[in-house]
Amino acid sequence: MQPILFWVVGAISLMAGLVAVGHARPLRSTQGLVALMAANLILLFLLSTTLLAFEMLLVILGTMVVVWMVLVRPGRMKLGAPGRRRYNITKFLAFFAAIWLCAVIWWALSHPVKPAEKCTEGFCPQVEFGAWMSIFVLSIAAVSTIVVVSIRRRENREEGPE
């Protein structure tokens, strides 16, 4: 099970690396790098290096914040657009998505992943728990982001050009 999961995630990381290196737009390139690091996070859990995995998680979060604040937010989100309602559905959705993500991360951290030193072959439950947990958290983060951004884009389309 572990080698299969390793190569599936490894293939994703290689594809993300190709996107990061080969895409013409720097924004897509940076997003490819974030995807590569997310795949490497799962690989680090599979390799039982939990300290490195959590460090990688911090780096991913920092990169996402920088990319979001510097590149995505000014162009796509139009947060300071004049005439926008102060309280709208996107803000509430983003708020609850952030609370939900914090709860999931807290739940994941309350289940410590120990290195499976004696696990030589077959199913290693503790190691695979960390890997599946990181896949779960990253999937929830991706789905929440897609939902919030798509709703905000629809709002932008409905409001029309400024």
């Binding site: 572990q2 080698p3 390793f6 690396g17 990061a20 390139s29 590569l36 490497n40 920092g62 072959e121």
Partner: protein, 98 residues
């Protein structure tokens, strides 16, 4: 248990992808991203050779911090270049050569 050879192979592939991007691309941001991709490959190789021991994980943390520092420094230099010449293509920034 994942064999070390698999991890080494994957790390080598990531390193190669980053090296190709470093040598072939002109876009400054992509060059910085390529360096980080290479360092991710090195991190995987380090994990494969160390076998999950604690001192090697600390070395990995240092390597990761170094990767972030390099990326931020590269982005800052690119920003300065962009303000100076309105371009981020690295072959247009050759003032140090003359």
């Amino acid at each position: 248990m994942i064999p070390s050879s698999h991890v080494l192979l994957l790390g080598l592939l990531q390193f190669t992808i980053g090296l190709v991007g470093l040598l072939l691309r002109r876009q400054g941001m992509v060059v910085v991203v390529s360096v980080v991709v290479m360092q991710n490959g090195i991190l995987l190789v380090m994990c494969a050779t160390a076998g999950g021991s604690s001192p090697s994980q600390v070395e990995g943390v240092v390597l990761l911090a170094l990767a972030v520092a390099i990326a931020l420094t590269g982005a800052a230099i690119l920003y300065a270049f962009h303000r100076f010449r309105k371009s981020v293509l690295i072959d247009e920034h050759d003032r140090m050569k003359h």
